[in-house]
Symmetry: D2
Subunit: 317 residues, 4 copies
């Protein structure tokens, strides 16, 4: 099994709640319900705090969304505070359904509710499907589904999991104006044994560098000279510290890979600060680029042996 978790697998999972939202759906795809208990949390900071305090063994939080972009609360929550590491990434298709009580027809819908984000992403379709119905805001998509089940509204825009949970029918599937949205969640744990390399891994980190021309270039050179590709980069504001820049990065490979390890050690030397955020199985359905032979572990091992020979005065080949 790729991306196996550490030996003492987590059994208490915090996630960005409430129940019935996409985070719970993502958690379901990552961890069977028999594997542990799930605790919804009101916010990303709360979910991370639960892991830091020991109240939870792991937390599933959103990292970025193809429509909404990155999730600063997660980025910043991992960059600051007691170190945590990502042990798994989970990609979830974010598809909204128009959920109603069973038997309700489109023509019967007089009221509609959902979280404003969901309403924003479905505004066009809803105007076609339910002209004249003014959407009402709720605190979460799951809350809207619950309210529909309670008879408070006729329809909700929510995740399929919420419709299911509250006994609603999906009157229309995929009501997003721009279909195909995907959210990337990450499972976060306290530092400990890392997931074993799978051959198709990613590594996440945060690097802080001085604000000088070329600083980012120097940082990226440490990856490029070792044949490592980045899959994500984002400059992050560091208002607290004028004159420094923070970069949130994902790269291909596992910290156990020699090229990745040496690159991280180099960043540790040359950056003002580096925080390792985990190495874990890549789960976006894509394969890492082939590692050039010159950057493979065998090449590093061979070069190290060669160097040791030179230093020992052996014939330097």
């Amino acid at each position: 099994m790729p991306g196996k978790l550490s030996s003492t697998s987590p059994t208490r999972f915090a996630y960005l709640g409430p129940e019935g939202t996409f985070a719970e759906a993502a958690l379901r795809t990552a961890v069977a319900s028999s594997e542990g208990a799930r605790y919804p949390q009101p916010s990303v900071p709360a979910a991370l705090a639960a892991v830091r305090s020991g109240d939870a063994d792991a937390a599933l939080v959103p990292m970025e969304n193809s429509v909404e972009g990155s999730v600063p609360a997660t980025m910043d929550g991992l960059a600051d505070g007691r170190p945590l590491v990502i042990t798994r990434e989970v990609f979830l298709d974010v598809s909204f359904v128009l959920a109603v009580r069973p038997g309700t027809e489109l023509a019967d819908v007089r009221s509609l509710a959902s979280h404003p984000h969901a309403l924003a992403q479905t505004a066009g379709r809803l105007a076609e499907l339910l002209p004249g119905v003014v959407p009402l805001p709720t605190s979460s998509t799951a809350g809207a589904a619950e309210a529909v089940a309670a008879g408070q509204y006729d329809a909700a825009v929510c995740a399929p999991i919420a419709a299911e949970r509250y006994g609603l029918a999906a009157l229309v599937e995929d009501v997003a104006d721009r279909p195909g949205a995907v959210t990337r969640f990450v499972l976060v744990e306290p530092s400990g044994a890392l997931p074993a390399p799978t051959g198709n891994d990613k590594t996440s980190l945060v690097a802080v560098v001085g604000d000088r021309t070329g600083a980012l270039l120097d940082l990226l050179s440490e990856f490029a000279v070792r044949g490592i590709s980045l899959t994500r980069i984002e400059s992050r504001p560091t208002r607290e510290r004028l004159g420094v820049y923070s970069f949130s990065l994902d790269c291909e490979g596992h910290v156990a890979d020699r090229r990745v390890g040496e690159a991280l050690a180099a960043l540790h030397r040359v950056c003002d600060d580096v925080r390792f955020l985990g190495s874990y199985a890549r789960a976006d359905g894509r394969e890492n680029k082939p590692v050039p032979g010159t950057a493979a572990d065998a090449a590093f091992a061979e070069a190290e042996a060669w160097l040791a020979g030179i230093r020992a005065g052996a014939s330097p080949g």
Copy 2:
């Protein structure tokens, strides 16, 4: 006046509405009300579409927020569709007030409403100030203020401008859990005469490169060799086109500067695609790094003259 707009200044401004939100406050700081009419729009795409269709001369939309991160709708809305350019950036401190009808005391507040984003950013303070009061969601912070004015709720979390507009009193100022949030808005116009260089400008662009190791390094090298600093970089997913990467960048300098112009021309050559998003006065209160003499316009002009002499067979010095 730095950052003067083009000769035919816009007079019809679209912005991310509704009235009373932070976008309107930002627009006020950028453009005096006597300078033009303002049209709230329901979404960023709608605001940009208004400019593209000619219904508005300019649109003020949020680009990034220190708490919420970048705004993908703006990033993507500028990257695709008919070209628009940023002609101004506006930074607005996002401070929330607890707004009530005049005369209401804290002890009187039994109900509270706001947009879920605002509620999330103020959850801690609200729990202290109003223990036991369950916040209710509204479609916008301005909508919450309007509802308070109408007597529907006792208190709203909203922008100062909304409290003012609806005749409310700010019972508590700065109720954000993490004060100091800033949103960066950009004023977007159809292509046309660019703002004149001010000596402290930024340039924004989107560059698309093939997904190969080192592609980003090559891209950044075009800036670094010309002494240009980046102030923001963000990889953007390009789901539609597998195997390519899109980067959204801000750099120091104006496209009228020779170093910036040459760098952009180089990107135009080596990238799969480059879109210029504008050069405009830097407005975050910081100064660009000093331009090294070797990257100043005079150095480019001198080098060009030297090269012309060499090509013409003059004594090559």
Copy 3:
């Protein structure tokens, strides 16, 4: 004809003499005797001085030799003093013959003379061919041939051209211990109209940079970002100026090529000093690497037009 010289072609040629040496042979391959008069010079500086003073229109001097390495007198003579440019390169196979008066057999050879360089390059073969014969030094290989013709010695190691000139027979051809030596000569002229691009050209230059870590990398980046390959690089001591480094470089392409011109202009900006030493047809029998489309003149022109449009406020595509 590729590499055509400038309109007013030189007619008086200085070269590193004396007559009968390899330099004269190289000059013969470059310029028909009907095209101009030839003036042997006692040294490289003398040959260059003849051009600078106007006593000669051009000088053919050795640049590097596959056995002896680069020729500092030429490197330094071009780097300092009034500017001259290379207009042609000529490669000459350096093959030594054992030259004797016609009728002399190996067994008759009792005495042998040549320039010490030539003796060094043929020591092994001579020991086999003429065991027991102690070679004697002369001031030039041609001088040895002349002395043999005069009956002073029995045999000379010299260029085929010298044997021919003095009526000697080549008793043994190719007596070099390590055959295949090639000397690269360059034809040097006063600044003036450059040779027209041929599509397979080289450009030579000298660049002086401060002695800081990474200075050379920065210099080479200016070539690499523009897709230009180097064919030769050599650091040169600059004893006179402590703390600076001088590099002598050849790159592919002609200064009339936009990528090469822009790279040279960039060096002119960022280096302490750059001296252009000429663009001329490549003559080593090899082809330049294919120019990537992104570095071709058409790409530069297209990018320039795009940039001009952006600066003029045209729709930025």
Copy 4:
């Protein structure tokens, strides 16, 4: 003692002869005569072969000369064949004297002899000092001195050491037209224990890379990212292998330094071939550039410990 040689110090020294030349003078400055026997060799290849065959423990050969440039016989002799390493570098001022038998005055000198190289470097001064005297070539400067002692000629241009050896007087010192020439010699030994680091060392190597645009830049990046300065670089022709490039390099630092070791290991991975040519005390009277803290051994050790902690699952700091 800086640059101490390996435990079993060499006692039999080959050098580029004959006796009385500059190489012997250089050897004298490096090794006291009491420390070992000296064996003049007729050529650089012969001197290197003596070490390879075990006939000598070490060889002192010229590497480069400020007037004559690099010495390809040494470069190539070290790059090919059984590996040898440089254990010391020696810089020798090359000053020529006009040597005569004691009592001879300038006006008495009717004949003059020396090696053609020496005659070339002193031609101007000799023409002033001895107008009308035609210089005659000899096989070595020492041989000219010997011939003067024997009464064959009146004067020789030779090294001070040769004048001394043959009992001649230096009638005129420093007769070079361009004074200040320096030759760099290197002491070469079989592979074995390396000289201990002194804190001001150099490392020499030969690297072979494919002939593609940017290959040299990639090579130099391995030094630059680790804060290592080059002190010499020279591309070397590799006629035997088309499509590859060979670079002869000296860099600051000792292979025992972690930054240098890691850089060499990286080259071993990414280059077609790398040959280590030794680490030895810098002897040109200059100091290496200060090593940035981020490239010091302590920084490497600290980063390695940090990485080990991360891999072991320790709190990643």
